[in-house]
């Protein structure tokens, strides 16, 4: 039986891991290569790197991080943030990432999903979605809207429609981030996660809001998520991955023992 995946997420700015609340006030917390190795040893099932380097010119720093990570860990990891072109995708995949995540660029140019899927295979292309609850309104029947630019720009695009379209275009997985829940440690956005997961046939990674192992248990059962992204709760040592997995296991959720 397939295990639910627990995926630490590392936000990387100019080669250093940071963590912010609601995409703001990022503080540096460590070296991403060392942290990747640490989480690999600790039993992470996969890792996500999100490059939040503001300047496109400094992207080479991230490629260098990806190369170093790929030499030290032997589990899948994805890289997202600032991926705009097929060449950007190729660069991170060649550097050793298993998957590449597209977010804003895909909203502006959905073709990048199908181009990436054709060039590298569907399993390589993760559709990252930043979503805000806005309530049902014209053009947003699900009540959840796609936002970009770290949550600042509303796109008039319905989250559920976009998820289905992303799948149709060839995305192999969805990483679903709730801007409302991100960094709050109050729990994942359950309604959103369940709605998306039940309406697509590709795996959904829940993101944003994890504070306790109970939150993961909820989103992996009631929220129907296939995987859960975690950040603060492990970055600051509040919980270990082993503690989280033991908790989930006791709740009857299948996780990989490590």
């Amino acid at each position: 039986m397939l295990s639910k995946r627990i995926i630490p997420c590392l936000d990387v700015r100019e080669g250093k891991t940071t963590k912010g609340i609601k995409f703001k006030n990022n503080v540096e917390i460590g070296d991403p290569v060392e942290m990747a190795r640490f989480y690999y040893e600790a039993g992470a099932d996969e890792l996500v790197f999100y490059d939040i380097t503001a300047s496109h010119e400094k992207r080479d720093i991230m490629i260098d991080v990806v190369k170093k990570v790929a030499q030290t860990i032997f589990i899948p990891f994805s890289v997202g943030g600032g991926i705009r072109t097929l060449a950007d995708m190729r660069a991170v995949l060649l550097a050793g990432a298993e998957k590449v995540s597209v977010n804003s660029a895909a909203v502006k140019n959905p073709d990048i999903i199908s181009q990436g899927a054709r060039a590298f295979g569907n399993q390589c292309v993760v559709l990252g979605m930043d979503v805000k609850h806005v309530g049902e309104k014209a053009g947003i029947p699900s009540g959840y809207e796609i936002v970009i630019n770290g949550g600042r720009t509303f796109m008039g695009l319905d989250a559920l429609e976009w998820a289905k379209q992303g799948q149709a275009l060839g995305a192999g997985e969805i990483c679903l981030n709730s801007i409302d829940a991100d960094g709050t440690k109050d729990g994942y956005e359950m309604q959103l996660t369940r709605m998306i997961s039940e309406n697509v046939s590709i795996p959904v990674i829940a993101s944003g809001g994890a504070g306790t192992p109970e939150h993961l248990a909820d989103v992996l059962t009631k929220g129907r998520a296939d995987a859960a992204l975690i950040a603060s709760m492990v970055h600051f040592g509040t919980y270990t991955i082993e503690e989280i997995k033991s908790f989930l296991s006791r709740k009857g959720i299948k996780v990989r023992k490590s």
Partner: protein, 210 residues
């Protein structure tokens, strides 16, 4: 020297990195002569069986792999490499290498729609267990609770049960490890399966088929 066969199927560098991490020399190559002359051959791959076989034929790698097989050289297939050793694949109706009798079949289309009860999505992506149904030197040291990383929509269905070494449960019990003589192949990604994956890869690097 271990030859990693480049047949245009996905990211071979991750397999090369894993082999190098284990301190074995390897080279990524699409040169049939180099592959035939190698001490060991690994053919990893993601992507579609159809395009994989097409590239193989264009580069003369299909005949090279058959020659490697009949010469008794240890060879290891990973993921798509575990499907193209069969006679055929349902994916794009592809004629494959025919080193092992049987075919590669797709997970049922209905599995994705059954998710409300069983959460079964296609592709089968993530960590899953391995039920060893037949001992093999490559399984030495693998624990009963060890899990491996899968990403696939097709799986091998060998005709002869003797060729089946491992199965995995995902809605159905499917074959995830096949072998015959000097050939072994896993549907899961050894290079992305953490320590148990590296262990099987290491076992392969030292394997002397009898």
């Amino acid at each position: 020297m271990i030859a990693i066969v480049d047949y245009g199927a996905g990211n071979l560098t991750s397999v090369a990195r894993a082999v190098s991490f284990l301190s074995y020399d390897c080279v990524i190559t699409d040169d049939p002569a180099q592959i035939i002359g190698a001490e060991r051959v690994i053919f990893p791959g993601v992507g579609a069986a159809g395009s994989a076989m097409e590239t193989m034929r264009e580069r003369g790698l299909d005949d090279a792999l058959k020659e490697v097989f009949f010469a008794g050289t240890p060879m290891l297939g990973i993921c798509v490499g575990c499907q193209i050793i069969m006679d055929s694949s349902q994916e794009n109706d592809t004629t494959c290498l025919g080193l092992i009798s049987g075919s590669a079949k797709a997970f049922s289309d209905t599995m994705a729609t059954e998710q409300k009860d069983g959460h079964l999505k296609v592709p089968h992506m993530g960590w899953n267990g391995l039920d060893v149904v037949q001992d093999h030197p490559l399984f030495n040291g693998v624990g009963t609770t060890d899990e491996f990383y899968f990403v696939h929509s097709y799986y091998p269905v060998p005709q002869n049960p003797d060729d089946v070494f491992g199965t995995t449960e995902y809605g159905i019990h499917f074959t995830c490890a096949v072998g015959k003589n000097n050939l072994f192949a896993t549907q899961f990604h050894l290079e992305k399966s953490g320590k148990p994956g590296l262990l099987i890869l290491k076992n392969f690097c030292g394997w002397v088929p009898c």
